[in-house]
């Protein structure tokens, strides 16, 4: 496979190295001549010291016979242009772009970039998985919109832990009707003892949300976690 990598930063450098080790044919384009020389010293003469956004140099790098073009510079607009030029001007079958601003993902996809790698999105996704959700989650609005289906994640300091629904002061017009424990949903009986990690499903009027929050969530575990 012939892969054209554009952008000789850390990502481009290691990508090129790995691809060579895996036995692929690789050309790396890096417009900063010093950086290009430095990489060439380390991994051999696979580096073209020119701007991969420039049509002329893309052509010289053999873009028209590339199987894959990977645009991994630090600038979204450059990566977009590299992929579009590769795709539409050089008929490259597969283009991959690094996207820094997650908001650009949709535009890039729409404009024909085949694959998007978003480091920002990946890190964001990982952080969101790690942070427990301590707030009430609105699942749906019911009726004319005055009723809400709400999910509450019970964290360790929730005042509801160790209690049964009958011991809680559930606001009027609100009912707790199910609990999701270990991925299994069961109807919430009045004598069932709530545990940490339970997800309680409630239905109620919008205005009882604050009371529900006091009963099921309590104070946030750490400041700023919500």
């Amino acid at each position: 496979m012939f892969v054209l990598v554009v952008g000789g930063g850390k990502v481009g450098y290691y990508l090129t190295k790995e691809l060579i080790e895996a036995g692929h044919e690789v050309v790396l384009m890096e417009k900063d001549r010093d950086r290009a020389d430095q990489i060439a010293d380390e991994i051999g003469s696979v580096v073209i010291p020119h701007d991969g956004c420039e049509g002329k140099y893309l052509g010289e790098a053999g873009c028209n016979r590339a199987d894959i073009v990977a645009a991994v510079t630090g600038d979204d607009e450059d990566n977009l242009v590299i992929c579009q030029m590769a795709k539409h001007h050089f008929d490259v079958p597969r283009t991959i772009a690094r996207v820094n601003n997650p908001k650009n993902e949709e535009l890039f996809k729409h404009l024909g970039v085949d694959e998007l790698i978003s480091p920002t999105r990946m890190i964001l996704g990982s952080i969101e998985q790690d942070i427990p959700v301590h707030e009430l989650l609105h699942l749906a609005a019911l009726g004319e919109g005055e009723l809400e289906l709400i999910e509450a994640h019970l964290h360790g300091r929730s005042p509801a832990i160790g209690k049964s629904p009958s011991e809680l002061q559930i606001p009027e017009g609100c009912s707790l009707f199910a609990v999701i424990r270990d991925g299994i949903a069961t109807p919430l009986r009045p004598d069932m003892i709530l545990r940490e990690g339970d997800k309680v499903i409630a239905i109620g009027r919008e205005d009882c949300e604050a009371l529900l929050h006091d009963q099921l969530i309590g104070e946030p575990e750490t400041a700023g976690a919500s």
């Binding site: 979204d76 607009e77 030029m85 650009n104 404009l111």
Partner: protein
């Protein structure tokens, strides 16, 4: 008419002033507030500091549904991206991007954006002045195709509208004597 200009360099500032004086609602965007010093004190449009390739910034600036969107920064790719954002996400009707690399200028005209290439413009002008045979090419490459992903019918409209383009500039242009030189550069599609 709503006219958005991304990049308040020499050309961007002159265009902004011209459009403003001919009665357009003008929005100029540039990452540097110093760039706005090029605008005359009489400028009545809005000048906003920000990145013209950022969709949020463009929306905050009120750039959606522009009648005319011109990307004039120093970066070819920034212009390409701003122009495509305007066309694909912000509903701009006519879009022009400055692309100084002739290969990219042509490629993006094929993808539905009117492009303006300083390299071609200047070399043609010098050749013409010196009497060297000039390649017969327009100052602005009109969009030839639509983007494969896009379904924006505007691209074909633009070609048609280009013929009637001077009308855009005419209102109140009479009192501005210094205007024609820049206006003609962008006027002819």
């Amino acid at each position: 008419m709503k006219t958005v200009i991304v990049g308040c360099g020499r050309v961007g500032a002159v265009l902004a002033d011209n459009f403003d004086r001919s009665g357009h609602e003008v929005i100029v965007i540039d990452p540097s507030t110093r760039a706005f010093e090029k605008l005359p004190s009489t400028f009545g449009g809005s000048a906003l500091r920000g990145d013209g390739t950022d969709e949020d910034t463009l929306r905050r600036a009120g750039a959606q549904d522009a009648d005319i969107f011109i990307a004039m920064t120093e970066g070819d790719n920034r212009n390409v991206m701003a122009a495509q954002l305007a066309l694909e996400a912000l509903g701009a009707k006519r879009v022009i991007a400055k692309i100084n690399d002739p290969v990219r200028a042509e490629a993006y005209a094929d993808l539905g954006i009117a492009t303006l290439c300083r390299t071609n413009l200047m070399s043609d002008a010098i050749d013409a002045y010196l009497g060297v045979p000039v390649a017969e090419r327009p100052g602005i490459l009109a969009p030839k195709g639509v983007h494969p992903g896009g379904e924006h019918h505007e691209a074909t409209d633009v070609v048609g509208a280009a013929a009637a383009a001077p009308a855009v500039f005419n209102p109140a242009a009479g009192d501005a004597a210094g205007e024609p030189s820049t206006a003609t550069t962008t006027r002819e599609a």
